[in-house]
Symmetry: C2
Subunit: 385 residues, 2 copies
């Protein structure tokens, strides 16, 4: 592996082009998934995509872990317009994660609703969708399912793992549980422990879903009545926290939809309202309310540094290099979350780089081609830090 820089103009890269999501059964009745809780689950199918080629030494694999509402489709496109992957700016030939060099794997998380087994999947015990009978799982379980996928693909060791938000939380857990497995860990606006304010926002979102009369205790599948109102409101709320106040000011200000001063209304009048409404509606088409409950709750309970001394001891065995990135206007997982991770890495004598990137776009910045950020990822992967 050579560690050349990928050039300063990282955004000049091209797309990986047309890609397809694949599906694989990783666990079945004979060999079920054993969760951290001790519960078992089978079958477990996983939807995934790969970009680039695994080299002969099997040393160039990079796993991408998605955030709360992501899926396996991180890069390239699915044929139609507007079908680009959610992190297409980051992954591709000549992009910060260069697919001419790396073999990239991204899968839909356990509990997801985009091809992987989750609460909308059929429970073999009943022949009906699991709903809330789907077992609770942890970030550790999310990692183990992805490890099983990688083994299936012939990958034992990772050149790197990359994740933003919940994605970064998975990368952190991965290194803690398997110190020798990941050479480079990129934790982008991640957290080792949600604040009560973080939990509060998620709790209100879940309340919005679960109090919707169409929620039917999670058994809404096939009834023709889904908790769309609750899920849309949850998404609208989340979107406020994904952007900074500054970003909302720049994007929308107090602009109205109609230039003429209309009568006051409770409907959509300000542009910011139109934006939130659009985000809520769009989300309903692609996301399942129960998955929202499970994956947001996983984040609330995540607390890998609870036994900090043990964690520090474990990390001393690790030769992983860490990149810990935050954005100055991110108030969902502000820099203080990254500082807490860095504090523990420092205690353990780990090799790490921590950077706060200036970007007006809040938490959403991690998905955007912010030049200094992309350059940092590019340089870090090339071993330049």
């Amino acid at each position: 592996m050579t560690h050349e820089t990928l050039g300063s103009n990282a955004e000049a890269g091209t797309s990986v082009g047309l890609v397809a999501t694949q599906n694989v059964r990783l666990f079945d009745e004979e060999r079920p998934l054993v969760l951290e809780s001790g519960e078992t689950l089978a079958p477990v199918d996983v939807a995934y995509e790969t970009y680039g080629e695994l080299n002969a030494e099997r040393s160039n694999a990079i796993v991408f872990c998605h955030a709360l509402t992501g899926d396996a489709h991180a890069a390239g496109h699915h044929g139609g317009p507007k079908t680009e992957g959610w992190w297409d700016s980051m992954i591709g030939p000549g992009k910060p994660v260069d697919t001419r060099r790396y073999f990239v794997v991204c899968s839909n998380l356990l509990g997801g609703c985009s091809g992987s087994t989750g609460p909308s999947s059929t429970d073999p015990a009943t022949g009906k969708p699991y709903g809330l009978r789907f077992p609770h799982f942890s970030v550790r379980d999310l990692v183990e399912v992805q490890r099983a996928l990688l083994r299936k693909l012939g990958v034992e060791k990772l050149y790197a793992g990359v994740g933003g938000s919940l994605g970064g939380m998975q990368i952190l857990q991965w290194v803690l549980d398997h110190p020798g497995e990941m050479r480079n860990a990129l934790l982008i606006c991640a957290s080792s422990r949600l604040t009560p304010e973080n939990i509060a926002f998620s709790s209100v979102a879940r309340n919005s879903i679960m109090r919707d009369v169409n929620f039917q205790n999670g058994d809404y599948y096939g009834t023709g009545r889904e908790p769309d109102s609750g899920l849309a409101v949850a998404r609208m709320l989340a979107h406020i926290t994904y952007l900074s106040g500054e970003a909302l000011e720049t994007k929308f200000g107090r602009e109205r939809r109609q230039a003429q001063e209309p009568s006051p209304t409770f409907g959509i009048d300000f542009q910011i309202e139109s934006y939130l409404d659009h985000q809520g509606e769009k989300f309903l088409k692609r996301f399942d309310a129960n998955t929202y409950l499970y994956l947001s709750r996983v984040m609330d309970y995540f607390d890998p540094f609870a036994d900090e001394n043990a964690v520090v001891e474990g990390l001393r065995q690790s030769s992983t290099r860490f990149l810990v990135v935050s954005f100055d206007t991110d108030w969902r997982f502000s820099t203080s979350h990254s500082l807490e991770i860095a504090r523990v890495l420092e205690r353990a004598g780990c090799d790490f780089v921590r950077e706060e990137i200036a970007s007006p776009w809040g938490h959403d910045s991690f998905l955007l081609p912010v030049p200094a950020y992309h350059q940092l990822v590019c340089d870090f992967l090339a071993g330049k830090h």
Copy 2:
């Protein structure tokens, strides 16, 4: 009027004791309320309370304007335990607004649900509750109704007006519309113009209410099905914005309701969830969803400095002294809102004091007996600044 200080130990004051809310008809079919929009409304009843005595010169009246979810019951108690007024720490004998000296008036706002005419009142045209047929109104209309009440009580000029949040917005509008009427204006964590983030939070709250299937386009009265879920979620969301992240950390941290580690659940597990749930439920008992829509929307549209040059000219006629207070951890109406008000007061050459008070409790601070803040109010009213 002498301007002695009320002593440094402002919180040592006592309660005004048992008080009762009164009700008065201010506008009727013959003399209806003419709104800023040109629409008329009648009858208009107003619920109000008074504390202290109006002096012979009628020069010691102070009006208190309430915030989004307040009512007429600002001070004293209603007999039972936990019936203290919402600003009892501020108003009373020996308190910052000393009722041995001042005559205090507080009324439930137009559009309210605690005794004043609002969307839950009977529309004389139909014999049924107005619901969303209640006319839209403005902060200016809120002020005019309160002025009508004061005239009824024999008050033409005010020694002071005091308000926090939406209350402060009313005080600001009052001075702009009636420059000679208020000697001292106390604007506490107020705003002259909501940001898109402010509007976004209110919009999500309104969406939560209006998308509730029991909302029935506002005609839920008497149907036995009220938009309780939507209103509770709106309140839970609002409560996150009333407190600072620091306050949530101090009050709740990541504490669980049960000391033993229970299985993960989507129900109430963390203490912060219990708090929010309690706030949501408590709110349903005292508040009307339609009032929430009207009063939150009034705030979104408030923009008194839109024609800034005219405002500056008008303010030059005013001899009002202003106190503009914000709290350092308030992120609902942060200090930047107060700075914007102060900027315009400065341009107009007004006599004003602007202070940012250190308090960990966020927006809620304005209702709490923060010593430096209470002393400031006390001193300002005594003419010491």
